[in-house]
């Protein structure tokens, strides 16, 4: 399989004296969804910031679509769409103007844009809010706008940080359906979430982070094995709990 995202020996953080990430190694391939899980402060958001290019690696490298940010910044950035944990919208743009701008930035053909926009607005029940500004949207609706923007761009890689916070059940379902669809069409997805049951159901592989290290990665079976529990029974939550607490209550 083609690796869309490659993280090699990544050491990073805000200060070289105190790195937060310690030698991370993982890949996300085309056509797979990978769940990034860990306790608060495990290093998930810092990892995502390094992938986005908002932080520079102290050592190691991050490649998206076969290139680093320094080598080909435009190719690197146009290869992914990002949904942040806290929705960050432009207050001066309406919902449809956000989609318009994303369409421009990601070079979505004008003919495709109109159809995709309508489809997304309908699927996420945002048609009545298309002319609303961010300040007039609930948190869940703002999150929907972020998700719609990511889906509109149709990039090879999706980086999604805690997408379910504030979403209503219909929107969660729409999001998951769309993620399965884009995955089947060959996109790679890196999704960070605390909702382990959903991650277990929808993701093909998992990366368990703990104190800035990868405590385990691979299929559910691999994670169970790393946690030292029966390879054929036990949920992701059981394995996760074991990995981050060492089995202590």
């Amino acid at each position: 399989m083609d690796a869309i995202l490659q993280v090699k020996q990544l050491i990073g953080g805000y200060s070289p004296r105190r790195p937060v990430l310690h030698g991370l190694d993982f890949e996300v391939n085309a056509g797979e969804m990978v769940g990034l899980i860990g306790l608060n402060g495990a290093g998930k958001s810092t990892t995502i910031k390094h992938i986005l290019g908002l932080m520079n690696p102290q050592q190691g490298e991050v490649k998206v679509a076969g290139t680093t940010l320094a080598e080909q910044p435009e190719r690197y950035r146009s290869a992914f769409a990002y949904v942040p944990e806290a929705p960050e919208l432009f207050p001066e743009l309406t919902v449809e103007e956000h989609l318009h701008m994303t369409g421009m930035a990601y070079d979505v053909a004008e003919t495709d844009f109109a159809a995709r926009q309508e489809e997304l607005l309908e699927q996420f029940q945002m048609l009545p809010k298309r002319k609303a500004f961010a300040s007039h949207l609930s948190k869940g609706m703002r999150q929907k706008v972020m998700i719609m923007n990511a889906l509109l761009a149709q990039p090879p890689l999706y980086i999604i940080d805690e997408p379910f916070l504030g979403l209503d059940p219909l929107a969660i379902r729409s999001l998951l359906e769309r993620l399965v669809e884009v995955k089947q069409n060959g996109a790679a997805i890196l999704m960070s979430s605390h909702i382990l049951s959903t991650v277990e159901t929808y993701c093909d592989r998992f990366i368990v982070m703990h104190h800035g290290h990868i405590a385990a990665q691979g299929t559910l079976e691999d994670v169970r094995r790393a946690a030292g529990i029966d390879r054929r029974s036990g949920t992701l939550e059981d394995a996760f709990y074991k990995l981050v607490t060492g089995g202590r209550p």
Binding site: L52, R77, E88, F90, E97, A105
Partner: protein
Amino acid sequence: MGDGRSLESLWKRRSHAFRKETTPYFRYMSMSGFPAFLSLIAISGTLGYFKLIRDLPPHFPITAVGVIALVLASCWTPLRTWLAPADTVFLMPREGEMGSYIAASYRRSTIMTALFSAVMLLLYVPIYRQGAAPAHWLVLILGVAAIRGANLWGGWKERKIAWPGMRRLLRTARWLATVIVLYAWLTFVPWQSAIFTLLVAALFAIVYRLPSSHRFPWERLIEEEKTTHKRYYTFFGMFIDVPTLPSPIARRSYIAWVLRLVPYSRRNTFVYLYLASLLRTEMGGILIRLLLLGGLVTYWIAEDASLSGWGASLVYALFLLVLSVQLGALRQVHRHSVWKHVYPLPDSQRIQHYTKVDRMALIVVAAWLALPLALPLLMQGYYTPVVATAACVLAYIAIRPSRIRKKLRKEEDDD
């Protein structure tokens, strides 16, 4: 919990904290050319004013000018409450005691607006006395004070109204009613005007009872406080880097249609964003208001052809300077936005797009402001000041982009 007195002391602490927070910015402002600019406006305004009251033209619209001056002095009801979103958690349980807190806000507002009204009256009374003056000027002052008081009360009633649409409607109605009442005071004998004022006040007292109202308008006051706070920082932002606060947004459909003219293509992405910011943020509102005021003042001076037309050129240049400084604040709008790093567009393109929007905006602003300068002067045969001003403005428009690019690059390096 304490009594109302402790809430009053909380109000004082917050008021003191705001003064302390803003003092350094006022200091920076005082070190800029802004006080000199204000002094210049004040001196030229004073000279113009004394010239006006000494030789008031025979057909001077005394009543219309009076209505405009006094409606501002009567209707404007700002209120500083220092309330913050967290107050809905921590102060809301003491809603019953908020009377003393809000009374402190009203005391401040009454004093500030009374000073403003006094200045407006002081300026207007000498003009008023040269007209028909149906009421003695002292009676007029009493009348305006009563109208001022009624507006303060009306302002509070409106803040309590639960429906934003109804609140805006009644506020507009109050301003219109004040215009009519002031017109009455300036044209009818006092007893008739007083009765009319009482009838209008009674009508409003009844109307204010109709819509659903909050006991205490927490959300409205917090929103208002945020807007005022933001305005202070937008103003300080003209002189020094200030903490970025979320800017209040207005739809401005009457001008936002311009956004749809931006061609849909990747190379216009940041043009689209910066144009939206320019049109819809508070900065755009300030630009529009400054442009209208600048147009009016330039026209007055140009019509008067003072200093053989050079006076109007000077005022034009001053307003264009203030407008271009204000326009420069657009640089700060997305300075720390994460999206400028995430969107697949090179930084050089962002700078190029920004410069394009800045230049277009400057051309529009300069051209708009040039109309009230050039038309009256050219019609009176003063060509040189118009041509000289046009040459200077074109030169400025030509050199500004490179200066902007330099500033943007420096800011990027600093970040």
